[in-house]
Symmetry: C2
Subunit: 301 residues, 2 copies
Amino acid sequence: MKTNDLSVPLRNIDVALARAFVATAETGGMTAAGRLLNLTQGAVSQQIKRLEDLLQKELFDREHRQLTLTAEGERLLLHARRLIALNDEIWGLMSAPGFEGTVRLGVPGDIIRPFLPPILRAFKNAWPKVKIELNCESSVALKKALSAGDIDLTLTTESDTPQGAERLLTEDLVWLGCPGGRIWHEDPLPVGNANPSCTFRAAMLHGLEKQGRDWRIVGPSGHEVMLAKIEADLAVTALLQSSVPPHLEILGPDSGLPALTPFHVNLYVRTSQTNEVVQELAQQIRDQVTRRFAAPERKAG
Amino acid sequence: MKTNDLSVPLRNIDVALARAFVATAETGGMTAAGRLLNLTQGAVSQQIKRLEDLLQKELFDREHRQLTLTAEGERLLLHARRLIALNDEIWGLMSAPGFEGTVRLGVPGDIIRPFLPPILRAFKNAWPKVKIELNCESSVALKKALSAGDIDLTLTTESDTPQGAERLLTEDLVWLGCPGGRIWHEDPLPVGNANPSCTFRAAMLHGLEKQGRDWRIVGPSGHEVMLAKIEADLAVTALLQSSVPPHLEILGPDSGLPALTPFHVNLYVRTSQTNEVVQELAQQIRDQVTRRFAAPERKAG
DNA sequence: GAGGGTTACGGCACCCGTAAATATT
DNA sequence: AATATTTACGGGTGCCGTAACCCTC
């Protein structure tokens, strides 16, 4: 049984075909393209034809004697170059010797989970000779460390995305409590807070004050300790939606707690003296964070 | 004559192979992968093998009965997904009906050349039904227009890259005169200036004042008029290196003119209500600007 | 022995080069 | 005539499914 053209009609663009196409478009002729690619001009002609009826689109206008790109052709040209570039980049990565060295990464403690473990695991497996130093502090401290040159790149949680930052994700800050707990009815509200410079602290207290609600700080303590206190119904706190541990509960508006402003997960990469390993890790963080938490779920063709 | 493996050994990654590989890695087995891809598990096995000796790297450890990614395999996995995603994105673009609508683009007059004409030409050809409105003002005015919602995206020339901007390019600001001219020895220096709010104006005057040199403004007038005055040896001015017209001359340090700070070409895209056409144009500007003026040439090793 | 991977085999389709046909200047 | 693309043909290779073989649990 041939499973040729099922519901999904094999939508794969052959990079060789893309090369022939780009070469033809750039040189303006198939003969010249063939010369570039070490192919007969007849072969190039066939490749273009194959590409055309793969996409079911005319790519060139063959009027007169001049090959002119059609609209679809121009459209493809603009993107085919990227495909080829990516192909070559991957090829380069795969044939180069593995990176070595050290990358110093900063992450605020409250978003290590669930973002980082899978990323770091994969990166570690992919580049076993690269040592990753993980610095875990508050967002402000991390930004200082970055500009001081103590780390190479860092994630932060901030209410904006300042100059030099790259926004990866925007998420709601949500109140967090113990399932079945009652502590959030207490007045003053016991607010667990890992760190005085925690970025979320200001947001929480600002919300509470605007509401006229009394509060008291529980802590400061480490992130894990704070989570334990919440689990024990000794306090509430706020976290990004996706970093809420499964055994804790998100407190909606009916809990009487004030709405909180959304926060951003930003990425900073050191601009000077940055090497390929740093760029590679940054790329992975970008990819994986957006893949896992932005994209709903991609059907696998 | 077969030109099989010449100096360039056909470094094309078959997207179908990449699909098989990713599916295998994600499902943890070739049987399950085959089920996803509508392939025999034998076929999947062959595809993995083909990919392995295409890259000349083992991708899986076949110990025990479990397939585990090798370092190279993990490395490939991280990037193969991007390749597939790009392939599918292109396929989507090519099979979708062409975009329609209007894009309002802002550009400071002094960098229209040589950046924009080829980009706009290509974009116009690729999406003939899209109307491009080109707004040509100073960088500050353009930023205002963007936040007022009067334009959808804009290029600027600035000495920094503020929040919300994306830096495409950094280039030296250079003094510009007429070949064989003598006007730059005149005191006070006649400085051609297209527009009082021109971003370069401050840089030029600041440089001159630091040097203690006297100056007078010639203009303001339109960009073309100013270039004509320079060509007539009536004034000098400063432009980004790559927008210097071929018939004018760059004045080096031996001209006695002060050094100037480098400038950035930044891109701003409206964040709200932005549609696919705007994103597509932004993507093209990014690609083409960096392609033509930044990347020297990538060694394909 | 059941489940999963590898390998051999047969057939079909793909894809190149050669070369003839076609078209444009 | 000359240059450039298309097309027909032949041969080699690629790649699938089938199925046998192998290994581990």
